[in-house]
């Protein structure tokens, strides 16, 4: 009798431990504002899913990428859910490193068809969804209406690069620290190369030809880089070669930039009166083109995915479905207002009248995202996918090394020609080392 009770107790205790410990999800994520908000709303998830506990690992983007990639490539299994970019998702999906999110695709309430088509297709490999978008972005022009009025200029909805350059030079007044245009210059495949690759697309350039030969020795790249370096010299802020997204954001919010071409998510920061001195003076336009049929607007999304081989796939899918659902958008709207919901993932959000009212940048964001075409990013044909990146595993390293060269050209340490020559050489080297062209 006593023994039986003890045994029973022990067994149930064991079982209880088993449940409790089996259901703690470790989630790796980026320290961006929208993710931090998700972290704060965890209690809502826990209330709806009793028995599942959540542990957050929030890291800076570069550190996160290294940690997550090392973990998944060595199959260490330290994370149950990972935040990954639209760049990684298809590569990892093809490798068989991610568990397909079948539950989500088939769940009517989740409504996977509502996901924005360009982003959904970017996260799908062979018809299977491998990651669910948490927020998405494209790039666009943000400009100061007051400065444009003062200079007697009017920003069209779809400007050309010539107009942008001309306007930037007119607005610039270095004496009062007003710089016509702020663009990324800090080296990195996700920093200056995101901007420059997308811009190069508009100038008719491409990374590789159909045989994977690097194209930096072609006139289109020279034109792109020449244009960029000259424009930044005439109308950019000092120190542009170390400016990334954050640095430019701080400049723009402090009223030092006439224009800024960058991620659409920046729109909610620059129009937030708590942070921005120019909140009520910002206008938006599509990323510029050069009349060749491609606009320099990229496509990016941060997504949640589950490593293959995870033992907590079911609980993890529950979490992902919570965090990327329509209801989550409503939850954020209730707590922090519609302007703060994670943008760029769902068609229904952009049909929502409340959102349109709260977010003046909504239309431009959705138009920019829909205008991006990762499957056909360039004017000339290419063997790769991706607008502001090339979706091959080698790209992180090559992109950053090329970014270094272009950053040096912007800083005036090397000429445009030297930078392109080095870029060509190092890309050829790395591609050869990686065994391209692959059949």
């Amino acid at each position: 009798m006593t023994l039986k009770t003890v045994l029973l107790g022990a067994v149930s205790a064991l079982a209880f431990c088993g449940i409790a410990s089996a259901e703690t999800l470790t989630i790796a994520t980026v320290n961006n504002g929208d993710m931090i908000r998700m972290q704060k709303l965890t209690d809502d998830f826990k209330a709806k899913n009793p028995g599942i506990d959540v542990q957050w690992v929030t890291l800076e983007e570069n550190v996160l990428r290294q940690r997550v990639t090392t973990d998944i490539a060595t199959k260490s299994g330290q994370y149950d859910i990972m935040t990954i970019g639209i760049y990684e998702a298809p590569i990892w999906g093809k490798q068989g490193w991610l568990a397909p999110l079948d539950k989500l695709s088939s769940d009517a309430a989740y409504d996977a068809n509502d996901l924005l088509p360009p982003i959904r297709s970017g996260l799908t490999v062979n018809g299977k969804l491998y990651a669910a978008p948490f927020y998405g972005e494209s790039s666009m022009v943000m400009y100061r209406k007051d400065l444009f009025d003062k200079a007697g200029l009017k920003m069209p909805d779809a400007p050309t690069w010539d107009f942008i350059a001309d306007a930037a030079r007119k607005i610039t007044d270095k004496g009062s620290e007003t710089y016509g245009i702020c663009l990324r210059g800090k080296a990195g495949w996700g920093e200056n190369m995101a901007f420059l690759t997308a811009t190069a697309n508009a100038f008719g350039a491409r990374w590789f030809d159909e045989n994977w030969m690097p194209q930096f020795d072609q006139p289109e790249w020279k034109k792109t880089l020449d244009f960029y370096v000259k424009l930044m010299k005439d109308a950019g802020p000092p120190g542009a070669s170390s400016n990334g997204f954050n640095e430019n954001l701080a400049l723009f919010q402090n009223g030092k930039c006439g224009m800024w071409i960058d991620a659409t998510v920046a729109a909610s920061f620059v129009t937030n009166p708590k942070e921005s001195k120019v909140a009520d003076k910002v206008g938006f336009a599509l990323a510029p083109d050069t009349g060749l049929g491609k606009r320099g607007n990229w496509l990016w999304s941060w997504n949640l995915a589950i490593p293959a081989g995870s033992k907590k796939v079911e609980a993890a899918q529950k979490f992902i479905s919570w965090a990327t659902s329509k209801d989550y958008l409503k939850l954020v709207a209730e707590k922090d207002g519609w302007a703060n919901v994670p943008p760029g993932t769902r068609t229904s959000l952009y049909a929502n009248a409340d959102y349109q009212k709260a977010a003046p940048f909504a239309k431009m964001t959705i138009d920019s995202i829909n205008a991006a075409d990762p499957k056909k990013p360039t004017v000339k044909p290419v063997p790769y996918e991706g607008v502001q990146y090339v979706a091959i595993p080698e790209f992180q390293g090559i992109g950053t090394a090329v970014g270094q060269q272009f950053s040096a050209a912007l800083a005036g340490q090397v000429t445009v020609d030297q930078a392109l020559q080095s870029a060509q050489q190092l890309t050829e080297r790395e591609m050869k080392k990686a065994g391209y062209p692959k059949k």
Partner: protein
């Protein structure tokens, strides 16, 4: 005999340290050498194959390699020069009778306690940024064009940041050495009418030789693998102007996930570090003997 007994006891006592460090060195080293001979990219599983010396070829012919080599030496040399000269100057100053000596000493040693990542972030964003940084603001307030530190003088900027972190260490060692200098010796020299300069050259400096050697030794060990400061501030750029060997290996390992290439780079770095070590042993041997 006592000596034999002591000697074998001594061996026994050194054993744990030696064995542990040997294992710590040899296991990763063996694995690294093994990986360095493979075509091994973490992002492309299943493509591992024996590659011979290909990784070494690529690493050594990398146009960035010689830049990285010279940057490493300039970085180590530059920081050593600044911290030793600065350290002696501070030590001389703190050795003087001054008001609130203890507090000044606290202020001077504080940077040593700051995490490298934190200090790099602080310097980069709040000081060296030409628009929002304090230096830029000061320059403009005085009517100059602000210097864009991280773009125009990237390596110097890194040297400044690292020197700031290591100056306290040098100062402390120098100060200890200085305070052990015989007061009477100093006084006698003063009586003889020796000026500050000759006192410094003939009495103080020779006395500090050992302290200087120690600072060189310890700092070199840490400075050869400076990494966080570069990653946070310049990312090795613009171009490769502030890329040191450690950063170059990092780019292979954690940007390209090319484990083969990174391992080859690691081995090259170890060989070079050991050349430096041999050089240091010579130097130390002379100065620390006896």
């Amino acid at each position: 005999m006592a000596t034999t007994h002591t000697r074998s006891a001594a061996r026994l006592m050194m054993a744990p340290s030696v064995i542990l460090l040997f294992a710590w060195m040899i296991v990763p080293l063996a694995m690294t050498i093994y990986f360095s001979l493979l075509r091994y990219n973490l992002l492309m599983p299943g493509t591992e194959e024996f590659a011979g010396i290909m990784n070494y070829q690529f690493f050594l012919t990398d146009p960035a390699f010689f830049d990285a080599l010279s940057n490493t030496l300039i970085l180590v040399g530059g920081v050593l020069a600044i911290t030793i000269i600065g350290g002696i100057a501070f030590a001389l100053l703190l050795d003087q009778p001054i008001f609130g000596q203890g507090i000044v000493r606290i202020l001077v040693i504080a940077p040593f306690f700051v995490m490298p990542t934190v200090s790099a972030l602080v310097w980069k964003n709040m000081f060296m940024n030409p628009v929002n940084g304090l230096f830029g603001w000061l320059a403009r307030a005085m009517g100059f064009q602000p210097i864009d530190f991280l773009a125009s003088v990237p390596l110097l900027s890194v040297i400044i940041i690292v020197s700031w972190q290591w100056l306290p260490f040098a100062t402390l060692i120098m100060l200890t050495a200085l305070q052990s200098l015989d007061e009477e010796q100093k006084e006698a020299a003063e009586m003889d009418g020796a000026g500050f300069v000759s006192r410094f050259i003939y009495i103080v400096l020779p006395h500090m030789a050992r302290a200087i050697t120690v600072v060189i030794l310890i700092e070199t060990i840490f400075l050869l693998s400076v990494f966080a400061e570069i990653l946070v501030t310049t990312n090795g750029g613009p171009g490769t102007q502030s890329t040191n060997l450690t950063y170059l290996v990092y780019a292979q390992a954690l940007l390209q996930f090319d484990i083969g290439g990174a391992s080859a780079g690691g081995i090259v770095a170890v060989v070079l570090a050991n050349i430096v070590a041999i050089f240091l042993v010579r130097l130390i041997g002379k100065n620390l003997e006896g």
